[in-house]
Subunit: 238 residues, 2 copies
DNA sequence: CTTACGAATATCGTATCGGATATCTGGTGT
DNA sequence: ACACCAGATATCCGATACGATATTCGTAAG
């Protein structure tokens, strides 16, 4: 894998204590992770200035790891740098850019679903099942109260499929898209619809049945339906 | 655009002197560019250690911009970092990884060709034409003498199509793949075949005729033919 | 109200330092 | 001869101080 997806990894706790001793994360990694958390939760507004000095003081570290984190974030498109002006949070994707995200997803994700149907390990299937079940239970209880959490689980579901398809390049490419999409959806208060949960179960059933063709079409329908849901939501007043 | 493709940009000279005064690149950017040039030309072998101190002395800058460049390169997968050990040039892609590159290209590039057929500007068409013509003239003269140059032009041709398709996300995603592929091809002495040049002309004709469907199928055939050519080449002794 | 100038502020990059860790080297014991 | 262990070395990680330069913003003049 070229770049580990630190945003929507399917198992946040997969770094065992034993490994933590052998390879604890660097300070730069920790600053990066905290900034990612803040950014994808919209705790820092789009366009806000991110001064190296201010962030370093806030996190209690020096400028060296802070710069490292910002450079990584810049490479992922979450922040932008302007010469002699500094870093700032990347502007919100416009609806046009959002359409481009869906265009690319629609090229890649049907194939990732088909690949997952062929190659998913039993553990990966269990992971997918638990995410889908968690979303179903949560939505049955109260869909509006778990808005942010459902959006996170939706990203985790798609990331888990990408991770199971056997092609790390596909996983990386989709990971970048999911981050952008996540921020967009939180900002525009785009809920996870009830239909999403049912579509996830359809996709999971096809993958579990080892039916690549059905997984592919289910995923394609899911993405196109999602695009239409969000466009309808954007047309409505906000 | 999220991340400017600094590897196979179609116009290396598009930074006019006027702009250079208004926004000269940072030292980190310059170090990054020089390292990219060295890496994609294989002037630094795969696996070689890249010490921050050594590179800083070599380029006549301090460690700060050198680290910035290495972090960017790491995010693009050209170098890898090991905690407390340092950076080194990323290992060569294995044939399996190479197949995964083609798998992803085959998902995206037919769509980028179709998009270019719909949206390419006259300037973009002229650019594509000049690249295709340059390759044709070069190959007619002596194909083995211009091996490296033809590989570069091939990447530029595909990058120009990606840039013309109207979706920066597609352009970015493909840019990463082209870099990996370029290095792989140079390392394994995989020539640009005569057929490649003719296939490029077919694709260009379909784009120029504003025929998305034909551009899409031509591109798909081109990529699959390329995969088969390289697999045949790998099977042969090296 | 608009424009221009200059001080304050922040960034970019340099230089240097110390602690922590990996790697290499050489010696010792079996 | 080989495995194993300890010390030396090189490098990275991070902190800090400083100068050069660009941006920003308040203020004054037209």
């Amino acid at each position: 894998m070229i770049a580990k997806d630190a945003v929507f990894g399917t198992r946040p706790e997969d770094r065992s204590p034993r490994d933590a001793i052998l390879q604890r994360p660097s300070l730069g990694d920790e600053v990066y992770q905290r900034l990612v958390d803040d950014l994808i939760a919209l705790r820092i507004p789009a366009g806000a200035r991110l001064s190296v000095d201010g962030l370093a003081r806030r996190f209690g570290v020096s400028q060296t790891p802070t710069r490292a984190a910002l450079i990584r974030l810049e490479a992922e498109g979450l922040v932008v740098k302007k010469q002699f002006t500094g870093w700032s949070v990347a502007p919100l994707p416009s609806p046009e850019q959002f359409a481009k995200i869906f265009e690319l997803r629609c090229l890649i994700e049907p194939a990732s679903a088909a690949g997952a149907a062929r190659l998913a390990s039993p553990e990966a299937l269990a992971e997918l099942g638990s995410i889908a079940e968690e979303m179903r239970a949560m939505a049955a209880e109260d869909i509006t109260g778990h808005r942010a959490k459902l959006v996170v689980l939706d990203s985790r579901f798609h990331s888990a499929i990408a991770a199971a398809c056997g092609n790390e390049l596909i996983e990386d490419a989709l990971g970048r898209l999911f981050t952008q999409m996540h921020i967009f959806r939180l900002r525009y208060h785009s809920d996870v619809a009830q239909a999403v949960i049912e579509e996830h179960i359809d996709i999971l059933a096809a993958i579990g049945a080892r039916d690549p063709a059905r997984a592919e079409t289910a995923m394609r329908g899911h993405i196109e339906a999602g695009r239409e849901r969000i466009e309808a939501h954007l047309d409505a007043a906000d």
